[in-house]
């Protein structure tokens, strides 16, 4: 079983659309993250949730809304997609002691 799974792996959509990316972890970890990796491979943290509660919300446009229905899931909903949202989005899960973060396979979002 994959420890952290994201769907979809690829997402191509038009500007202005609303889309969601789903993330599930089967590790039982308390902390989950969303990271954005741009074309230069820079990894920037977007959100961090601990046990379903939002802990970190970086300077991300409010078009991005994370939702954690339970400890095992952290979904990312994006409204009114823009060209600049094109990137690879990674979900990750870590225990509260941060002994290691496990990453999903990534979702390559392309906005056209």
């Amino acid at each position: 079983d994959t420890a952290v799974s994201q769907t979809p792996k690829y997402l191509v959509t038009q500007m202005g659309n609303d889309k969601s990316i789903k993330c599930e972890q089967n590790l039982g970890h308390d902390t989950m993250y969303w990271y954005k990796q741009d074309s230069k491979k820079f990894l920037k943290i977007m959100f961090s949730y601990n046990n379903k509660e939002l802990i970190i919300n970086e300077t991300v446009p409010n078009r991005f809304s994370p939702k954690s229905p339970d400890k095992a899931h952290l979904n990312l909903h994006i409204n009114s997609l823009e060209l600049g949202d094109s990137a690879v989005y990674f979900c990750a899960a870590a225990d509260s002691g941060h002994t290691e973060a496990f990453f999903g396979q990534g979702t390559r979002l392309t906005v056209v």
Binding site: I56, F90, H98, Q105
Partner: protein, 113 residues
């Protein structure tokens, strides 16, 4: 604010050459340190990690890293690289008790056969 610095973003070397990638962080408290690797088109995988104890940490695929507290550094090394080591390498730091895992900007390493 917590920050992680990686220098020499692009590194090109020949097979069998030695590799050293620098990582410095800017937090004085207790930290956990990581090196992740991202092969082309893939997700991040853990190479090695340091929490406490022996400052010389050995990871997978022949990589090792040394934690030097006085220099706030956690440099990654491999004595002899292979073509398959071509990848992006990321240093990451988490502060004990904090939910933030911060990454450096990465080193793109290309190994020429």
């Amino acid at each position: 604010a917590q920050s992680v610095s990686q220098h020499n973003h692009h590194v090109i070397l020949s097979e069998a050459a030695s590799l050293e990638l620098g990582c410095n962080y800017s937090y004085g408290g207790t930290v956990n340190l990581f090196w992740y690797v991202q092969y082309p088109g893939q997700h991040l995988q853990l190479l090695l990690k340091y929490f406490s104890g022996d400052p010389l940490v050995k990871g997978i695929k022949g990589f090792e890293a040394e934690f030097i507290k006085s220099k706030f550094s956690f440099n990654l090394r491999k004595p002899s690289v292979q073509w398959s080591d071509t990848a992006e390498y990321f240093c990451a730091v988490s502060i004990y008790g904090n939910n933030r895992l911060a990454f450096g900007k990465g080193n793109q390493v290309v190994v020429i056969p």
